[in-house]
């Protein structure tokens, strides 16, 4: 019997993952309110210094996304653990790389959607102005979310086997995301405050390199992670 190729399997699984997210909208709503609460807490913690809040707005956006990502990534593997569906996919058999690509892209889409919703909140809450073209901000959000999703999906799969999975995932994920977090936060700050020195492309290049490395590693290593 002829099996679907990598891209066809990825597409089937990606649609399945999005359908599962849609069916569990309560979880998506919880993610949104968690991110909003994080942004609010940052603004309350730093007081009414609007200049300081505006200057750090990029960092708040990415910290809110990063904290939300731990919930989203953990949830995406809880669904697969529930009835051992990940094992079921392996035994179909589905190419493990297709499972990784579908899950990582679905996680990136979810996080990018969340990022897109948080930007107007930042504008309203912290009086942030978008100086560079909006397209550049959206592109940066997408690159940043891809940077979180690839290692997040890989480590989410590793952590899903552990008993202390909820603690293990951030412990594994946060340290390696530091370069991506710095690049995304700095790039976002430039979008909000202007880029007179032309630094924006450098941060985008760093983020793109991070994406290429970790998506490559994910595709390479995920089959080993999901095998016994």
């Amino acid at each position: 019997m002829r099996r679907p190729g990598l891209l066809a399997s990825t597409w089937v699984l990606f649609r399945k993952d999005l359908l599962l997210e849609w069916r569990s909208r309560a979880r998506v709503n919880a993610l949104l309110f968690f991110s909003l609460a994080t942004l609010l807490l940052f603004s309350f913690a730093l007081g009414p210094d609007t200049a300081l809040l505006r200057r750090n707005a990029g960092g708040y956006l990415w910290l809110a996304l990063l904290l939300a990502s731990v919930l989203a990534l953990g949830e995406s593997f809880r669904v697969e653990r529930e009835n051992a569906t990940l094992e079921g996919l392996r035994l179909v058999p589905v190419n493990a790389r297709a499972i990784f690509l579908a899950k990582a892209v679905a996680n990136a889409v979810l996080l990018a959607g969340l990022g897109g919703l948080l930007v107007p909140v930042l504008v309203a809450l912290l009086d942030v102005r978008i100086v560079l073209p909006v397209g550049q901000l959206l592109g940066l959000i997408l690159l940043g979310c891809l940077a979180i999703a690839a290692p997040g999906t890989l480590y989410g799969a590793i952590a899903s086997h552990a008993r202390a999975r909820d603690v293990l995932l951030p412990l594994l994920l946060f340290p390696i995301l530091i370069p991506a977090l710095v690049a995304a936060a700095k790039g976002t700050a430039l979008v909000f405050e202007g880029d007179p020195m032309g630094q924006f492309p450098s941060w985008v290049a760093l983020l793109t390199s991070f994406d290429l490395i970790y998506w490559g590693l994910g595709v390479l290593l995920f089959p080993r992670v999901v095998e016994e």
Binding site: R3, V12, K16, L20, V79, E82, A84, G88, V94
Partner: protein, 257 residues
């Protein structure tokens, strides 16, 4: 047909050291001179459905299987019996390549499970204690995902559901299904795949009497279609009616019954 592997598994070029038997029994080539093994399609057809050689599996300090050897011809229905914890589920999971044995060799339809797990998985279907279904999708949606991955038409998913007494129009999520309905859905997954080797772990559990009768009929259909069957159950009388051979396991060791 050419199969590459680290060990020869039946070499046409190695007449002196052994070859496949004409009656389908497996006599592996023991020569290590040839790393490339040439099998004709006729040879592959002659290979037994299952061949285990000295297979052991250890979980931590506990041995779930101890040097189990077994050869099952194609089309055989093997009844697997034993007390709880005797290794039935582990044996089925090893055969399905869901777990790797700690030692020993497993061949399914002439394919080495350690070297070619993907090809083995394409031929094997496992009905496990876990149902492999998504709780937030309906029964039909679950089967449609599988059908697309198997390149089967959507109508095959509908047909598989109907054959197991489930309605394709029922759009409730699986989360709301009863235990028996979940079992039927798991069986529908298996029938949709139409494997050459079907491994059934306690298939009658959670089914009502009607479901049991229907499942027995489906199992007989599988058998008449030439599917090799391994059925693990505590319902020995029921199993004996469906199976031709029997293997009893005690503390991970095989005892011919």
């Amino acid at each position: 047909m050419e199969i590459r592997g680290p060990e020869p598994i039946g070499c046409k070029n190695c007449r002196t050291t052994g070859s496949l038997g004409a009656n389908g029994t497996w006599a592996a080539c023991v020569s290590r001179r040839f790393r490339t093994v040439h099998l004709s399609s006729n040879d592959v057809e002659l290979a037994p459905a299952l061949h285990l050689h000295e297979v052991s599996k250890r979980y931590g300090a506990r041995w779930a299987l101890v040097r189990v050897s077994l050869t099952v011809r194609r089309g055989t229905a093997l009844l697997l019996t034993g007390h709880n914890g005797s290794g039935k589920t582990t044996l089925l999971r090893v055969l399905a390549t869901a777990v790797r044995p700690s030692s020993g060799k497993v061949e399914i339809l002439g394919l080495d499970a350690a070297l070619e797990p993907e090809r083995v998985r394409a031929q094997v279907g496992l009905l496990s204690h876990a149902h492999y279904v998504y709780e937030d999708l309906s029964g039909l949606e679950n089967l449609l995902v599988l059908a697309r991955l198997l390149r089967e038409p959507g109508s095959a998913a509908t047909e598989a559901l109907e054959r197991l007494g489930l309605s394709p129009k029922d759009d409730r999520p699986v989360r709301t299904y009863s235990a028996g309905m979940r079992r039927r859905l798991a069986l529908a997954r298996l029938f949709l795949k139409r494997p050459a080797v079907a491994l059934l772990d306690e298939p009658f559990v959670e089914l009502d009497p009607t479901g049991v009768a229907e499942l027995e009929a489906r199992i007989r259909e599988l058998r008449s279609a030439g599917t090799t069957l391994v059925l693990a159950t505590h319902h020995i009388e029921q199993g004996l009616q469906l199976c031709t051979d029997r293997l009893h396991l005690e503390q991970g060791r095989s005892i011919a019954a």
